[in-house]
């Protein structure tokens, strides 16, 4: 079985509000599949339906070849590892007890859960916190513990809802490394994130969501290739300060103007050539910044004009 999760026209309404308006995607075995989208786009709603905190009542969802109707059964959740968006560690318990107890829900003996739990804590850089009460942990340490907890049952599918929010750069890299290693072991991963770099680094394929719909799907490179030109010049001046008729001028020298969140981005095939011509169209080099286009540009381009609609 190569397809682990399959959604067709999956929708979700809360009362009159349609949080998901019919999305379709397939996630293959061993793949890391990313969900990008603004706050409220419907990422967590999708995750919750997959891991059994929400019912599926519009459209079709299939997990491990089984139709979910209306809610993910325990035998499927048994092979899942979940990192919810909000930390819900057990504050009545110590760090290691959190792992022990959570393992217990899966039927793992205390002894095994503690042994493996210590390994996971070691890896997550929490080895010196084994017997600390979770209330005493820093925000980032809590997050890492939630990730460790999700791995206690050696899951085949891991669902990570903003796993690295609140982590410092080192810790974030630590998590990425662990996730890459899991991927090598054939674990399937679903990940939501607001960090484009994270998505570009570890996801094989990505969907970009907007207001409960999927706008684009593909590998990070594909998306960049498909939706933007290879280079971008960010123009860091306010809109009023731009020379008049700038759009036409940019067009004339072979660029493409995009306005994203009230600032000008010039996309182009040939960054260096356009850079040299900026003076001609009245843009000063020291307010401009040339770089290769990346996933963030795709994201902003596709979802950036949301508020103006």
């Amino acid at each position: 079985m190569s397809c682990v999760i399959k959604a067709e026209n999956l929708g979700k309404s809360y009362g009159k509000f349609r949080a998901l308006k019919g999305i379709s995607f397939t996630i293959n075995k061993g793949e890391c599949f990313g969900f990008l989208g603004h706050n409220g786009a419907g990422k967590s709603t999708t995750m919750r339906m997959i891991y059994g905190l929400s019912t599926v009542d519009e459209g079709y969802l299939e997990v491990m070849g089984e139709r979910i109707d209306p809610i993910t059964p325990p035998r499927i959740k048994q092979i899942f590892g979940i990192v919810p968006q909000e930390d819900n560690l057990d504050p009545d318990l110590s760090v290691i007890e959190n792992l022990e107890v959570y393992g217990g829900y899966f039927g793992i003996s205390s002894k095994d859960a503690r042994t493996y739990g210590k390994e996971l804590l070691e890896f997550m850089g929490l080895a010196d916190k084994v017997n600390v009460n979770v209330e005493m942990l820093s925000g980032g340490a809590k997050r890492r513990l939630v990730i460790a907890r999700a791995l206690i049952n050696k899951p085949q599918v891991i669902i990570l809802d903003e796993p690295t929010t609140g982590l410092d750069p080192q810790a974030r890299r630590l998590v990425w490394q662990k996730l890459r290693r899991l991927k090598e072991d054939g674990v399937t991963m679903l990940l939501t994130t607001h960090y484009m770099e994270e998505a570009a680094q570890i996801c094989d394929r990505i969907v970009i969501m907007n207001d409960g719909l999927i706008l684009a799907v593909g590998s990070p490179e594909e998306l960049v290739r498909q939706y933007v030109l290879p280079f971008v010049i960010e123009v860091r001046v306010s809109m009023e300060m731009l020379p008049s008729g700038i759009n036409e001028k940019i067009e004339a020298i072979g660029g493409k103007a995009e306005y994203i969140v009230d600032s000008l981005f010039i996309f182009t095939k040939d960054g260096k050539r356009l850079w040299d011509k900026l003076n001609e169209i009245g843009l000063d080099h020291h307010v401009c910044y040339l770089r290769p286009a990346n996933l963030e540009d795709v994201f902003l381009k596709l979802t950036g004009r949301r508020d103006e609609e």
Partner: protein, 250 residues
């Protein structure tokens, strides 16, 4: 079932940590009641069915302390786990179902009912108020009222949206159950209609059985009390799950 037991294990780990402070505190109140009312008020009360007042009161304290323990667990503590600590959400993200969560809570409510029943039983035994070896059956019997009190409390906890509403349950449900259960006075002193109504009070059945076992006055009628409790538990069985599902699954 495996997961429900995993949840019970979680509660027991937490319980073990606070067992002593919990026990001492919970034993104190019935002890105060027994001393004040048993000895104090008892001096003015004539024998009740051949029992001294303190003798009459003591088994009622066993049953009612157990009720309070189970009730507090499945109201305030469960509410905190549900709304503030999101413990149930974490369980559900694991392999648990809402039924497992309910089972874990109720099993722990039963444990508390039994443990605090035993504690008070030891207190009254130390005060010389246990007459019969039949009392050894009390811990087993307390499973029945434990299930009923836990299911009742958890149902209410699932219905309400704000912790302040739990006070209503305590004041309007648990306290009246406590006062009109034949703990402090025999129910035959109440008007006839109230004596009928009292059959709906689970604590009444618990008190009757505990008293019979403590004094060794065992008869077939006890089965009626046990059957009533079992019936309540069956009727209430699915209620907490119904309301908690609405709270937990969106």
């Amino acid at each position: 079932m495996k997961t429900a037991l995993g949840i019970l294990k979680r509660h027991l780990i937490v319980f073990r940590r606070t067992l002593w402070s919990n026990t001492v505190f919970n034993a104190l109140e019935p002890f105060l009641y027994l001393s004040a009312m048993g000895y104090g008020l008892g001096a003015y009360v004539q024998d009740i069915g051949g029992m001294s007042y303190i003798q009459f009161l003591a088994p009622g304290m066993v049953a009612s302390a157990a009720m309070w323990a189970a009730t507090f667990e499945c109201t305030y503590s469960s509410f905190v786990r549900l709304h503030f600590q999101k413990t149930f959400h974490a369980m559900l993200a694991g392999p648990a179902t809402v039924t497992d969560v309910v089972a874990g809570e109720v099993l722990f409510g039963i444990v508390k009912n039994v443990v605090f029943g035993i504690v008070i039983l030891l207190v009254i035994a130390a005060m010389g108020q246990v007459q019969s070896v039949w009392s050894l059956l009390i811990p087993v019997f307390l499973i029945f009222p434990g299930a009923v009190f836990s299911l009742m409390a958890l149902s209410y906890t699932g219905i309400i949206g704000h912790i302040d509403y739990l006070n209503y349950y305590i004041t309007l449900v648990t306290t009246p159950m406590y006062l009109f259960a034949g703990v402090f006075f025999p129910i035959v002193s109440m008007p006839a209609w109230m004596q009928t109504l009292v059959w709906l009070n689970p604590l009444y059945h618990s008190v009757e059985v505990c008293r019979a076992l403590v004094v060794g006055n065992v008869s077939m009628i006890l089965w009626q009390h046990i059957a009533s409790l079992a019936l309540f538990a069956i009727v209430l069985g699915k209620v907490p799950g119904y309301f908690l599902k609405k709270r937990l699954i969106s």
